[in-house]
């Protein structure tokens, strides 16, 4: 039986995919601007966030009306619930892209600092993870979800290591405090981008397979359980995560 309700679901999928692509573009541009110190591009990103917010509202409204009018169950229910969550995650990712863009000016006085801290690699990895997760979102192919979790774990470790180094630098040289703080904020944003990427991957697994893996990734795959201990929470990181002691930068759970 064909359902006219199917059209609404298609519309929703299309919008969430559009949101994903838009956010991936924002993140990519933010990283591009960050690496090149391009403040003009940064300004464009901040401006374009309005588009993200608009789309976010549209998706929220669509989900609300589908919930109210169509009483979705099973696959449909999972799809709409997850779309709502993914939409939220994507919107936050958009905000983090803006955060990064906003800090570019504050870092541009020290053009070599990113290279010095080996941050290009982290940036590239994060660009990749975001790109990959959006591909998964568009294709609904959960085969590569495992790679996302691994990549996130690796990004997490690396950001914590760099953060530790920056804190150490700050202790010795008070004149770097401003740029260092900006860098830490950027790193936190990067870590959050990776975290939200795993959230979205989890949501897609939930849509496709109906499994909730966010608090039991052990069952999904042992390796991801480690990543989960740091980045699986989904919301804003706590203070301890923002500035973690070095000893905790390496995962202990297995």
């Amino acid at each position: 039986m064909e359902r006219h309700f199917e059209l609404e679901l298609q519309k929703l999928n299309k919008r969430v995919n559009k949101m994903g692509n838009l956010v991936a573009e924002q993140v990519h541009n933010a990283f591009d601007a960050l690496l090149r110190g391009d403040t003009e591009l940064a300004r464009l990103i901040i401006e374009k966030d309005r588009k993200v917010d608009k789309l976010d509202n549209k998706i929220d409204k669509l989900c609300q009306s589908i919930f109210a009018l169509a009483q979705p169950v099973a696959t449909d229910l999972r799809l709409i619930m997850s779309s709502l969550k993914m939409n939220n995650d994507l919107e936050r990712m958009g905000d983090h892209a803006v955060t990064i863009a906003q800090k570019i000016e504050g870092i541009s006085d020290y053009p070599d600092i990113l290279a010095e801290l080996h941050m290009e690699e982290i940036v590239k990895m994060t660009d990749l993870i975001v790109n990959d997760v959006i591909t998964i979102l568009n294709t609904r192919n959960t085969a590569f979800v495992k790679d996302i979790f691994e990549l996130a774990l690796s990004i997490n470790e690396k950001t914590h290591a760099v953060t530790a180094r920056i804190i150490e630098e700050m202790m010795h040289k008070s004149e770097v405090i401003v740029v260092a703080t900006n860098l830490i904020i950027v790193l936190t944003a990067i870590e959050r981008l990776a975290g939200y990427s795993t959230n979205i991957a989890e949501s897609i697994v939930f849509i496709v397979d109906g499994k909730i893996i966010k608090h039991k990734k052990k069952n999904f795959d042992n390796q991801e359980a480690a990543a989960e201990s740091h980045i699986g929470q989904g919301d804003e990181p706590g203070l301890d995560q923002m500035l973690p002691p070095i000893s905790e930068a390496t995962p202990s759970e297995g």
């Binding site: 039986m1 064909e2 359902r3 006219h4 009306s65 109210a68 009018l69 009483q71």
Partner: protein, 252 residues
């Protein structure tokens, strides 16, 4: 909103001394689905049945106010009720095919309109059954009795029978209340298809159904039109507390 098809002005209806509808003012748009919801006895069915003057059959009914269809007051003296009902089809709660063949059920309307040419009738029957999404199920058994069909099929047959008269408006009085969920789903899909060509007004006890199929929803309570608006709006954030209480099931 599209063109307005039906307008009522201060429509008040009494059954003997008892007031059943109190000063209803509503504008029903063309080629969209408008749902009437509300608890039993709220007047929604009575209102529906005054739109094709079915209430004329009940001697104790008195009507005041106006119902304008395409700008014409249907309760005016010069209006021919029989012609009016050809323009306004009706589908009932209980599927009510005649004890005739499937073919003759559909051909009934055209025949009373004087169409007797076999070829023309065959054509009308086929188109109507196709438009009611039941052609594939019955095309090989047109001479069989319509009473042999399942409940859901019978109801779609009744919709096809209505379509055969080429109405502009289709009134549906709880068309799926006696059907199983699958048949109900089919009827709902059909309604969605039909609204491309017809103005549809549906009375339903099933709020979810109203939510699923309609573009506009009117909430009736105790003979009054409490709230009327876009279905999306009514079901996400109604303006009036009574509506909210009714659709959320908190009705006291």
């Amino acid at each position: 909103m599209k063109e307005v098809k039906i307008v009522t002005k201060d429509l008040t209806l009494h059954y003997g001394q008892k007031m059943a509808l109190n000063s209803i003012n509503i504008q029903i748009p063309e080629k969209e689905v408008t749902a009437f919801i509300g608890p039993s006895g709220c007047g929604k069915s009575t209102f529906l049945r005054s739109l094709n003057r079915m209430n004329d059959l009940i001697p104790s009914v008195h009507i005041k106010g106006e119902i304008l269809i395409d700008g014409l007051n249907i309760y005016e003296k010069k209006i021919d009720v029989v012609n009016l009902r050809k323009k306004i089809g009706m589908v009932f709660q209980k599927s009510n095919p005649f004890a005739k063949s499937i073919f003759e059920n559909i051909a009934y309307g055209p025949r009373i309109n004087g169409i007797n040419d076999k070829k023309k009738l065959t054509e009308i029957v086929e188109t109507s059954l196709k438009n009611a999404a039941i052609w594939d199920e019955v095309k090989d058994r047109l001479p069989d009795s319509a009473l042999g069909l399942s409940g859901g099929q019978q109801q779609r047959l009744c919709i096809a029978r209505t379509l055969a008269v080429q109405p502009e408006i289709i009134l549906m009085d709880e068309p799926a209340s006696a059907l199983d969920p699958i048949s109900t789903g089919k009827i709902e899909e059909l309604i969605f298809e039909l609204k491309k060509n017809y103005t549809i007004v549906i009375v339903t006890h099933n709020m979810q159904q109203a939510a699923r199929v309609s573009d506009h929803t009117a909430f009736f309570y105790l003979g009054e039109l409490i709230e009327y608006g876009k279905t999306r709006k009514i079901f996400t954030s109604p303006d009036i507390k009574q509506t909210e209480e009714y659709i959320t099931g908190r009705f006291g």
